[in-house]
C-alpha cells in the first residue's frame, strides 16, 4: 500500500467512524442513562454509570407498574405475523408477476409500485374508518393488516429483482420433471431466495417494530398497545419519569438488534449479490 492509498483509506474510515458515532451515539446515550439514578441523568448525561450513580430503578418501575410484558408480546405478535405474511405474499406475488404473463399483470405491477411511492400514513383517516366499520378497531389484527399493506410493495419489488436472477432453465427443468407449479415455487424458487428474504425481513421488521403512529390511532386499550406506544405513558404533560422511559426504550431496542444480528450474514449476501459477479 502506498502512502497515498493509506491516506485515502484513512480519510474514508474517518468519515465512516464519524457517521457511526452520530448514528450510534443517541442509542448509547439512552442505554447508558437507563442504568443511572434520576439526578445523574440530568447532572451528567454523558457520563457512564458508576458505583454511586448506578441504579436499576427504571427497570424495576417498568416491570412493576405497567403492562410492559403485554406491550412486548403485542409488539412481537404484530411484527412477526406481519413479517411472515409480507414474506409469504410478497414472494408469491413477486413470483406470479415475474413468471406468468396474464391479463392485467403489468397494470398490477404498476399499481403495486405506486405503493412504494405513496406513504401509507396518508390514508390514516380512511384506514381508521375502514377498521371501525369492519369492527377491527382496537385489535392487533388491524395493525397486522395495515403493516402487511405497508410492507408488501417494497418486498414484491425487491423479491422480483431476485427472482429474475434465478435461471429460467431451473424452472423449466422442474416443469420437465413433473413438479407442480406450487411446489416449484416453494421447493425450488423459495430456497434460492433466502438471502433476499432475509433482506426483506429486516426491512419489514424495523419500521413495524418502531412504529408509533398506527398503534396510536388504531389501539386504545392497554391490552392492545405495543411497546413504542406503551412507553408514552411515562411521558406526562407535567412530569416525565425518565428512568422508566429510558429503561423501556432500551428494552424496545433489544429485539430488533437481536434479529438484525441473526439475519445480518444473510442480509449482507442479499444486499451485495448481483452487485459483484
Amino acid at each position: 500500500m502506498t502512502a497515498e492509498q493509506r491516506a485515502k483509506s484513512l480519510s474514508v474510515h474517518l468519515v465512516l467512524i464519524a457517521y457511526s458515532v452520530l448514528a450510534v451515539g443517541p442509542i448509547l446515550l439512552v442505554v447508558m442513562n437507563s442504568f443511572k439514578v434520576r439526578s445523574a441523568i440530568f447532572g451528567s448525561p454523558l457520563a457512564l454509570p458508576d458505583a454511586t450513580t448506578f441504579s436499576l430503578v427504571g427497570y424495576e418501575k417498568v416491570f412493576r407498574s405497567s403492562h410492559i410484558l403485554t406491550y412486548y408480546s403485542n409488539s412481537l405478535i404484530v411484527t412477526l405475523v406481519s413479517m411472515a405474511l409480507v414474506l409469504l405474499f410478497g414472494a408469491m406475488a413477486a413470483w406470479a408477476l415475474t413468471e406468468y404473463r396474464f391479463r392485467g399483470s403489468t397494470a398490477l405491477a404498476l399499481f403495486l409500485s405506486i405503493g412504494i411511492m405513496v406513504p401509507i400514513r396518508l390514508g390514516s383517516v380512511a384506514i381508521l374508518n375502514m377498521m371501525r366499520s369492519a369492527g377491527l378497531n382496537d385489535t392487533l389484527t388491524a395493525l397486522v393488516l395495515v403493516y402487511v399493506a405497508q410492507g408488501l410493495p417494497m418486498s414484491i419489488f425487491i423479491l422480483s429483482e431476485f427472482i429474475q436472477q434465478i435461471p429460467k432453465d431451473l424452472r423449466d427443468a422442474a416443469r420437465c420433471d413433473g413438479v407442480p407449479e406450487t411446489r416449484i415455487f416453494f421447493e425450488v424458487v423459495a430456497p434460492l431466495l433466502r438471502p433476499a428474504i432475509a433482506t426483506v425481513a429486516v426491512f419489514t421488521i424495523v419500521p413495524i417494530w418502531n412504529d408509533l403512529w398506527f398503534p396510536l390511532i388504531l389501539t386504545s386499550s392497554d391490552s392492545t398497545h405495543t411497546v413504542t406506544l406503551g412507553v408514552q405513558q411515562f411521558l406526562g404533560q407535567y412530569i416525565t419519569d425518565w428512568n422508566s422511559v429510558l429503561a423501556a426504550l432500551s428494552m424496545a431496542i433489544l429485539p430488533v438488534v437481536l434479529i438484525y444480528v441473526i439475519l445480518s450474514r444473510q442480509l449482507i449476501a442479499g444486499l451485495t449479490s448481483g452487485a459483484v459477479k
Binding site: D169, D172, A174, C176, D177, G178, P191
Partner: protein
Amino acid sequence: MANLRIEHLNKRYGATTVLNDVNLDIEDGEFVVLVGPSGCGKSTLLRMIAGLDGASGGDIQIAGKLVNTLAPAERGIAMVFQSYALYPHMNVRKNMTFGLKFTGVPPAERDRRVAEAARMLRLDELLERYPRDLSGGQRQRVAIGRAIVREPAVFLFDEPLSNLDAALRVSTRVEIANLHRMLKSTIVYVTHDQVEAMTLADRIVVMNKGCIEQVGRPLDLYYAPANLFVAGFIGSPAMNFFEAKVGSVEGGCARISGPGFRSFDLPATSLKVGDSLTVGVRPEHLGRGEDGPFAVEGVVELVERLGEASFAYVRRADDRLFVAEVRGRQTPTPGERATLIAAARDVHVFDAAGLRVTTQNDA
C-alpha cells in the same frame, strides 16, 4: 422408447415467424441432431417438443399420441439443459429423485433407478455432494442422470456440451454416444457444432431461418448436400463456391464455365444453355495436380499449418480467394502458383435457386 412425429409445426411471436411449417418423423430409438446457425429455431423446436413453449399451429405426436396440450411432464420426455439446471440446494441424489416424487414412483423404485443411473454415469461417489462441489463434466453427468431416472420415451438435449472445455467435450460426446447405444432410446439433440452433429447423429436435421433445409444421414449431407445452405454449413473449412454459367448442352452433357476455373463437362440432363449455376468444391477435395475433371489455378497467398494438413488460401485469376486443404509434408509456399484439381464426384453444382443439380456423377 417411442417415435416422434412433427406435422406442419409453426411458431410465431407477433409478426416474427420463428418456425415455418416444420415436418419431421423420428423413428423409435433414433438419434436425431438438430443443427443450424444461432437463431435458426432449433432450440425453439426442442422446447416445443418438450412442451415448454406452445405452438402457433401444427401437431406433435409422441408414441402415436397427440401431445399438443399436454404439460411437459405428461409427454414422456426428459430434457438436459445447456446450463445443466441442477437444483443448487439439493445434493446429487435429491436432484435425481426430486421429480420422481411427483410422478408417483415409489421410493424403492426411485432408489433402484438412481443406483442404476449412478452406475451407468459413474456418479456413485458423488451422490451426496452438492452441485457447487462438482466440476462442469460431473454436473453434466448429473443432469443426464436426472433425465435417465425419469425413463422417458424421448430424450431432449439442448446444446449439452457447449459449456464444457474442448477436451471434456470430446470425452462427454463419446459418453453420450455410448449411452445411446446402451439405452437404445429416442434422442433429439440440439447443437450448433457440426462436429457433434456429424459424430453423434443417426440423422441430421439442418435448419435455417425457421425451416428445415435438409434431413439425412451425416455422410449423405456431406457428400450430397441438397442446397447451397447445407453445402456451406456442413464441413470445415466451408465449401468453396464458384460462379458459373452453362455454355452449351450436347448429348446429355453441359459445358460449365466461369471465371477462375477451367471449363468442364457435366453429365446432367436438366440444364439449359445460359443457366446460372454455383459450383462447389470442398477444400479437402482439392489436391495439387496438373489437370483433372475440375481444375482451378491461382497464387497461394497464405498458408495455415495444422500439422496433419495445411490450409492454402489461393487467389484466383478473378481476384477471389478459395481454400484448399493440402496433406503431406510438402506445404505450399506463399507466392507460389498452384493448380488444384478435384474428382468429378466431388464437384457439387447448384442451380440459380440454390438447389442441387443431380448429375450422373451422383449415381
